[in-house]
């Protein structure tokens, strides 16, 4: 599933790794309204995420994302494993990874920062709050932060 927004010259490619369809929908909405032209690519499990990033199988034409949004509890391959693989792979490790999860467990925060997650965000249960959080991510990571060139 790939969604294209805006008409600027070079949109920012974002990979959203999320298995909850409602969360996918809300994230898409929030990013669609953002100031920066972006393309949000969505995969629903950890194995597809790695295949997308390594451009394997059906993802052989996938772009290298500028930013990754990663849920922790995922089917097939856990988000923590996905993070570890990304940060141990020389060609992928510079891509900023934002953890977006319902987990508030301190050990998840500690563990993912130790695995070099770029930031950890708690996913709010409330829909409006969720949209606000997604918008802050868009604002901060796409307008204030300089992403590494792909």
């Amino acid at each position: 599933m790939t969604h294209h927004f805006g008409a600027d010259f070079k949109p920012i490619d974002i990979l959203l790794i999320e298995d909850n369809p409602a969360d996918v929908r809300l994230t898409l909405e929030a990013f669609k309204e953002g100031k920066v032209n972006n393309t949000l690519h969505v995969v629903g499990n950890g194995e597809d995420a790695i295949a997308f990033l390594k451009q394997e199988g059906k993802f052989n034409n996938a772009p290298r994302p500028d930013l990754i949004l990663l849920d922790l509890n995922l089917p097939k391959k856990d988000g923590r494993e996905v993070l570890e693989e990304i940060k141990n792979e020389p060609l992928l490790k510079r891509i900023p990874v934002i953890i977006l999860t319902t987990s508030k467990a301190e050990e998840d925060i500690l563990k993912t920062y130790n695995l070099h997650a770029n930031c950890y965000i708690n996913k709010p249960v409330d829909v409006n709050e969720f949209i606000l959080i997604a918008k802050s991510i868009e604002n901060y990571w796409l307008t204030i932060v300089k992403l590494p060139s792909t």
Partner: protein, 152 residues
């Protein structure tokens, strides 16, 4: 009993405060950053070190007294890359989110900084208003949206 309660309370307050290291040699930028953090009305400590070397003993001291206080966020300049490597290779139990705040816009600087695992790279705006705006974004995002490592 009462004094015990008070001691406990002080420890709790100290533990919930967010400690920020600002490695910056420009006095004006230090002042502006401090003011912005103050205005956020969040429980923060902002320590300013004038260069990478000055921040090293601070980080080491923080590590050895980790149970009392810890650095939660690090705002550094680009040429503190060596500091970054030092922090990251230290066998400490936690990684401190590190925000690189620099005037450089060079692509190779950006890549170099993300390589030793800086958390994000921000080009320092030249204008006064824009600089204040950028600091406010950092404060809001890292202290209100993101979760930092739990206090020790």
């Amino acid at each position: 009993m009462k004094s015990n309660d008070k001691t406990k309370q002080i420890i709790e307050i100290r533990n919930t405060k967010i400690n920020i290291l600002l490695a910056e040699d420009n006095q004006g930028d230090i002042r502006l950053t401090q003011e912005n953090f103050k205005e956020s009305h969040l429980e923060t400590y902002l320590y300013a070190a004038h260069d990478g070397e000055e921040s090293l003993p601070f980080l080491k001291r923080q590590n050895s007294y980790r149970n009392k206080s810890t650095t939660d966020l690090d705002l550094s300049k680009k040429d503190s890359c060596d500091v970054l490597k030092n922090i990251q290779t230290d066998p400490t139990p936690m990684q401190i989110p590190e925000i690189i705040l620099t005037t450089s816009k060079a692509n190779e600087d950006i890549s170099q900084v993300y390589n030793p695992y800086a958390n994000c790279y921000i080009t320092k705006p030249v204008g006064f208003k824009e600089f204040v705006n950028a600091v406010q974004y950092i404060v809001n995002f890292w202290l209100k949206v993101a979760e930092l490592n739990p206090p020790h």
